[in-house]
Amino acid sequence: MSHTMSVQERDNILRGLLPLAEKYDQLAEGMESVEENKEPSLEERALLENLEGMRKKIQELITKYLDGLPNRKLSRCPFTGEVLAMAIDDIDINGLWWNCNAPKRPENHFPGTYFAMDGALKLNGEPENMPFLCCPGPDVPFVLPRLLEYTQIRAVISTIKIGSHTAYPIFYYADPMLYEEMRINDWGTDRYWEPGSLIPGVLTPGQYISLETDVDEYDFDLAFWIKKGKLLWITPEDEELNLHSYVKGCPYLDLQGSRLPKYIQNGKVWEDDQTVEVWDSNDPGYDADYILKRIEEIEKGEL
């Protein structure tokens, strides 16, 4: 029977793991200069043995972390009513589950109608200091019309506390299953697992796909999608995960916060504003000299 780790146990794992992983990376980098097919020196052999020992220890700690993640009921399929539960690090966003580029997440058993997982997160106070990049989404929940425009797709928004922060998982379900359409990167990561084939008969089913975040895809007008029957919601703290499909009283409308995806690393938080400002010479306030000066600064690396 699996054991859910306590805050202290998790802390111990991360305290052991993160510095070890950093040291491993530094040492492994040093080994890159060792020529292949050449007998390693005594010093190099000792280093290799050391690395192997560290690798085992890292793996051991990762396994402990994965086994200790709590399984939380997060959503419910609007087609079958099946509850979706998954292992998630809800103690804080400084756990490896939230590592955007190398997430550590155990295999989950989702309903057959599961299509994709996205999410948003509103920070409450300063984030923890972690060495990896964490991308938990914008402050407020949103949907992707690209997916909801398919008749067979519906989304469900719910709430979960991640430490002191408030997160909004957004799950997409399909009935029947939709293939041949790009899904979305799993919430907080830079990739997703595509179980089917994007080009049947050409590409083998089953592969990781990494998509660029496109803020223009985000639609925060949730009421529109609820009225269309494409978006359902679950009341925060409703342990029964009852689905709702009406607009009145929906707690996810008009939430305050940024609509841009945020990035967190080493205690710093920043947003990626992808909107492009286009200046036209006919615009009032257009200043060619100012623009040229700014370009020069950029080229010199001063900006």
């Binding site: 399929c77 009513g81 269309k228 499909s245 009406y246 009145k248």
Partner: protein
Amino acid sequence: MTDYKTVITYKINRNEIQKLLRDVLGIGINSGSAFLGAAQAGIESKNDLRDVYQDELKNQEFILALRIVAEPDLYVVNRFGGGVIGLDEVRLHRKKSEGEYVVATTVQEEDGTCIMQIYENYRAYLAWWIENFAGNNEETIANYIPPKISLEEFLFVLHAIDSFRMISYQNMLDHVYTERAHIKYDDFAKTMAESIKSRDIRWLLPAFMAVMPGFEAYDLDMAPENAAYLIKQGIMENAKLVQNDELVLVFGEGGQSMGVEFFRFWVMSSGFEINVKTSDDFEMVERLFNAPTAISNHFVRMEIMDQGKGRVNHQAFTREQLEVKLDELFSKAFELDTYTGSSV
């Protein structure tokens, strides 16, 4: 879907069925056959059936249809009714050893005959059904009854929709206009009890109970607590009358939307029950219901839980979604050789 327009139709007198099968063709009748009930009704014919049916007996398709209907290994009860149409029933028969054909039978009470129609396969029958009995909508709408709920809660929702219709009709008769219709608690409970008792399928609640085949198999335990679902889902809301502070129910977002939809656009409904042969009898594998309107197909898939309790999965489907779902459920049932699992 497969073309259904090449259906072959045969007619046979009910009081000649048993004799024709037993004495002329040597075919038995099993418990899944529509012939079982038909054959038991009335007095057996004394006519020489080899003579009466001499042309048909030369026709291999006629004999094929009789073999399938007499001894099916799968049958589907398909009922129609509610709204503005009366109750009617078609039974589909399939016998795997005879191929993919399905034979639909209807009993004509007025002239004592049984009509048999041969379809190429179940898809051809569904194509006919979709064309005639499904809503034609292409746009999705909100499903105000998301899955899954107890059968009792679902019946309360159906009566909430009927209540909206009742109040709307009454207000029209009384020349009353109101933006927010309301109903008193006692009136809601009283009209619900009357509606169930009436079996008047012009109303949605009794229509569901009559049109859904096998409805009587569910153990109903109606309690006032089931009404709480109406509030939880925004179908009804608690309110107080300004003039006397009396507590009443008003229609919430879901109740208002579905009330208007059914008041303006609902005309009929259909039910399906798919039964598959087991070693000694038949087992029900699916019970389905559909109430089409101009803007949605209100599709219901029933489940039987422990102790005969019913659970409902309601979906508001486009026509395309309904087609896909019916095909999925029918193909699953039609692939079964014999039924071995527990109730769905």
